[in-house]
Symmetry: C2
Subunit: 258 residues, 2 copies
């Protein structure tokens, strides 16, 4: 194997916790997981797990504690609004075993946004965070998210969740970037599988995935080679093209057109 394997890549990991009955009942189609997955991958952070749990404190606490102990970062979405079913802040606070406090800066932001007269008790709930938390900017509708330890608590409304993430991502530790190369072909997965498995074995430092498709009446598969060593990816891709040609098919660079 190449020498670059001697130096292990810097790996930074993350998990996502989607909180909300509406996702589990099917009422709402989650839009945040894919956005965060793509955004984390783009900055060299490996999303290792995602969970969806209902608006039940015990389930949120259990998931937050399971994930924050296992991964470098945890991002939660949902449950930080002003209504009775928004229980993420209290639950995360309990997961950390700290006190729930009214954050002075959050109160100030909400007062500016709503005005004293309209700052209802319910809206003030959105200023409550775990003791020691720092606020996450909400450029869309003011009410902030927060970070406590390695847990980032974001809104569920996609436009707000995404704006919060875009604002905070510059401050995250990045791992070595993961590069990928996709080669597709009109070959059956079951025909190429043996050679593909052998290719994976020759490149244990890379991660080779096979994704079948059926488009415009033709079946085939896209093969995605991922890893931190671009040169090694290039070598594996060259071997893959040879494998495809040996099966009397043409390697197509990238995903096949839809």
């Amino acid at each position: 194997m190449s020498e670059s394997q001697a130096k292990p890549p810097k790996i930074v990991t993350a998990a996502i916790l989607v909180i909300g009955n509406e996702i589990l009942s099917g009422r709402t189609k989650d839009a945040n997981l894919h956005y965060l997955a793509t955004g984390l991958t783009a900055i060299g952070i490996r999303l290792m797990e995602a969970r969806v749990v209902p608006d039940i404190a015990a389930r949120i606490i259990e998931a937050v504690n399971a994930l924050r102990g296992q991964y470098d970062y945890v991002f939660t979405t949902g449950g930080i609004g002003p209504t009775h079913d928004d229980i993420t802040s209290e639950s995360v606070t309990r997961a950390f075993g700290v006190k729930l406090i009214k954050h002075p800066k959050a109160v100030e932001l909400l007062t500016q946004h709503y005005g004293d007269a309209n700052l209802t008790e319910a809206r003030l709930r959105m200023a409550h965070v775990p003791e020691g938390a720092s606020l996450i900017d909400n450029p869309v509708s003011t009410a902030p998210g927060f970070r406590v330890g390695n847990v980032y608590v974001l809104a569920g409304v996609p436009a707000i969740c995404q704006a919060m993430f875009d604002g905070l991502k510059g401050g995250l530790s990045r791992g070595d970037p993961v590069h990928s190369k996709t080669v597709s072909a009109h070959v059956g997965e079951g025909v190429i599988a043996k050679d593909l498995g052998a290719l994976q074995q020759r490149y244990p430092g890379l991660d080779i995935g096979s994704y079948p498709f059926f488009r415009q009446g033709k079946f085939g598969a896209s093969f995605v080679i991922r890893g931190t060593d671009e040169e090694m990816i290039g070598q594996a891709a060259a071997e893959l093209r040879s494998i495809i040609r040996a099966l009397n098919a043409d390697p197509i660079e990238g995903e096949t057109p839809a």
Copy 2:
């Protein structure tokens, strides 16, 4: 509270386990979670949790065992194809601590579909299931899923996953159907929150969710009342309409138009 609370509803629960690096890297947008969530809800089964894990045996085994012990049904998607990265069958087999066997009926189906000459060793991998498993029909591309214990192993390709689920769902135990009623209004969540919380407290047997929206330049929220007792839902909805009117807004039946 009404007498119907005396009789506890029959509750049947489920979890979904999405298996695949491609979802976590953002390459692929999961389409199965929402389909299964909607399908389960429609037949009175409560989806209580979903997880997404990578193609790593230890993570699959851990998740399968955590979920199958906690919920009545577990549905997995992905990782049952013929390539080296398809490790769901082996992993589920290890989770159950049984032997991986070649299922005679699966071999027969694959032989019919591919013909003897094209039934590669890789394709034969798709006939491997945990000992004691029964097959799940794949009307799209033949290679079957399987059920072992309370775990249903489905394909990841959405058309196949969905066809497998549609074929098997008639055989699942159903809980009492969960009904829901949605009333929307152009009111701020922070304005209605107090009354809404009190309404939830008056109806502990129901589950009242509040989902803010911003459409056509107007903000508001949809309030979803869910439960097994339709009469009780009707009463709570009537009270909710009164609450909305008392705030000088008009209750809108259903979700607001997009």
